[in-house]
Amino acid sequence: MDNGKGRLLVVGGAQPHLKSLSQRLGEAGHTVTVAEQGPWAPARFASEPPELLLLDLRTPDLDAPRFVAQVRADEALGDSPIILLAAPDDLVGVERCLAAGAEDYLLAPISPTLLKAQVGEYLAISRRRQEARDRAKQEAFLKMETDLQVARRIQEGFLPKELPQPAGWEVAANFKPAREVAGDFYDAFMLSQKRRLGFVVADVVDKGVPAALFMALVRSLTRAFAQQNYSLSWTTVLEDDPVARIAGSASRARGGKRGIPSTGTNALRNAVLLTNNYIVENHEDLNMFATLFFGLLDPSNGQLAYINAGHNPPFVVGPDGAVKAALKGTGPAVGMFPATDFRIDYAQIDPGDVLYAYTDGVTEARDAARRFFTEKRLLSLLSQPADSAAGLLERVDSSLRQFMAGAVQFDDITMMAIRRKLPSSM
């Protein structure tokens, strides 16, 4: 639109002198809209906002200063310059309108030369204002994109570059962040002198940069506490807790006494409990928490100890596709309550079994018609036999992609599959 021709609005055009004026402007190449009658409400013109308004103060039923003020206040019209057309004895009216925000005026009889000059000048001003508005919008958008990128980078930086692959096992993960980062994470690392595989799938409740930072915190604390060896002092021993914990399980048969630490179980409990306590004590004001599943696997025999802190239960699926177990919650989400106890539960992963852990980004994924993916659909996908962990994830992932085609992904989608190989394939 740099040809000097613009969209003009002439207000009050019923009068004969305005008719010829409008005609002349039209002949000069401008697009002229003429508003001949009321109601004089700027909202009328907001759908196709003009670049420049010519307002005749002699228009009947027009409260001109009020109209000018309303135009200035209007979101769509607010930047369009207003040129007043007035009778020579109406300087008071002109002054009032200038005070209300009009830019300039012409007195009757309107000189075509002066009109042309003013229209040209104020169109240019109008365009400059438009450009500034567009630039501001662009910057705001870029800033938001940058924030998202920052959040995304933080999140990526805290995901493992490599997953451990203990002999006889396959560990795979699949991660698709939402456009607005939502703070899922997964992690896997060897513990207790490589005798145990620890793995985590977690979901931070929130979005954006705060969620990404909180995720980084939870992930770091979980890893750090899992790798410490905290031993009880005798003072803690005398408080009821640890004794009760050890004494409080049903069977006294050696090895069956669940409260007794076995390799890595202290690390498992410490990781979740100490992280929880740290967040509750130091970040209460954040009001954030994370649902988290932390599994501790003995690769030599498939025994799994786990804590499920409010997270959707992972499934253990047999080689034939039958769901053998859902590993349900053993405590509340991490970061919610002080002095919570997180119970450890146990499961067995036999040769050919797969453990599938995920975040609710999977089951709550929506299609273009805003229907959910649902746990039912997920389970039916899992119930087909899988010959590899990566293959299983790929199957779920491609089903999700098809399902979500055309829809925006609102939540991070995170999945992990751990499969115990069959002896013949080792």
Binding site: V237, V243, A247, G255, S262, N266
Partner: protein, 254 residues
């Protein structure tokens, strides 16, 4: 059916390790396969009684805890060292005597869960009849663990007021942990004390059976690392008392 026996005392210097070694020898002499684990990592000592020196230890409990070996690799067959033919066998899993290793444990700690798994493994791999756990004095997570998984617990104490108080704490904890069999062994009893009175008094105080009241013994002190007392002096009254204690520990009570 294998049996796990923990030997514990609230304070140091009660003669716990000595008692452990002697009871183990008596059990082995009757034909059993016995293993002693020295879990007193911060102040290991029982190996001395078997004549083991630093150079004799290739792999220690510490190496297992730090993932360098399996626990059975750290178990030494010390039967031949005793120079007395035994019907059974004695194994020892020693803790490292090297200052650096002890310092490392202090600095880093270790996964106490490894101990429980280690005990189970020893029972299986060495086909043990008896596993004896020589614990660190005082209460900590290792002690809790060993008490919790034991079939029998022997608490060694001296008949002085400090030990009375500390032992009360241990007895209370052991009760909460539901040990099937708990016995007290009163050691280093001054010869001026009446053994029967001491037994009665201790049993009354703790509501717990006393397996033996052992007198303070000069011979035991002078023997030191020259061998295991009960094997050297099989007819000594002290040996008979220790045999009594061993029998009580192996039985499930009346």
């Amino acid at each position: 059916m294998s049996r796990v026996i923990s030997v514990h005392s609230f304070r140091g210097g009660t003669g716990k390790s000595n008692t452990t070694a002697n009871i183990a020898a008596l059990l082995a002499a009757e034909g059993r396969r016995v293993c002693i684990v020295d879990t007193d990592i911060l102040s290991p000592g029982i190996h001395v009684l078997f004549g083991i020196e630093e150079d004799d230890v290739t792999k220690s409990l510490n190496d297992y805890l730090w993932g360098k070996c399996n626990i059975e690799d750290a178990a030494q067959d010390v039967t031949e060292r005793l120079r007395v033919p035994l019907k059974g066998r004695i194994y020892l899993v020693p803790s490292s005597m090297k200052a650096g290793d002890i310092a490392r444990v202090l600095r880093e700690g270790y996964d106490v869960g490894l101990l429980n798994d280690g005990y189970q493994r020893l029972l299986e791999v060495l086909k043990l009849d008896v596993l004896m756990i020589d614990t660190h004095p005082g209460l900590n997570e290792e002690t809790l663990l060993s008490i919790a998984i034991s079939d029998a617990l022997a608490i060694v104490m001296r008949p002085d007021s400090q030990d009375y108080q500390g032992t009360a704490v241990t007895v209370e904890v052991a009760r909460k942990l539901d040990v099937p069999r708990m016995l007290l062994i009163v050691n280093k009893t001054p010869t001026s004390f009446n053994a029967a009175e001491v037994k009665a008094r201790v049993e009354r105080t703790f509501g717990c059976e006393v397996a033996a009241v052992l007198p303070h013994s000069e011979e035991m002190m002078t023997l030191a690392s020259d061998g295991i007392f009960v094997l050297r002096y099989p007819n000594n009254p002290m040996t008979k008392l220790l045999q009594q204690a061993a029998n009580r520990l192996m039985s499930d009570g009346d």
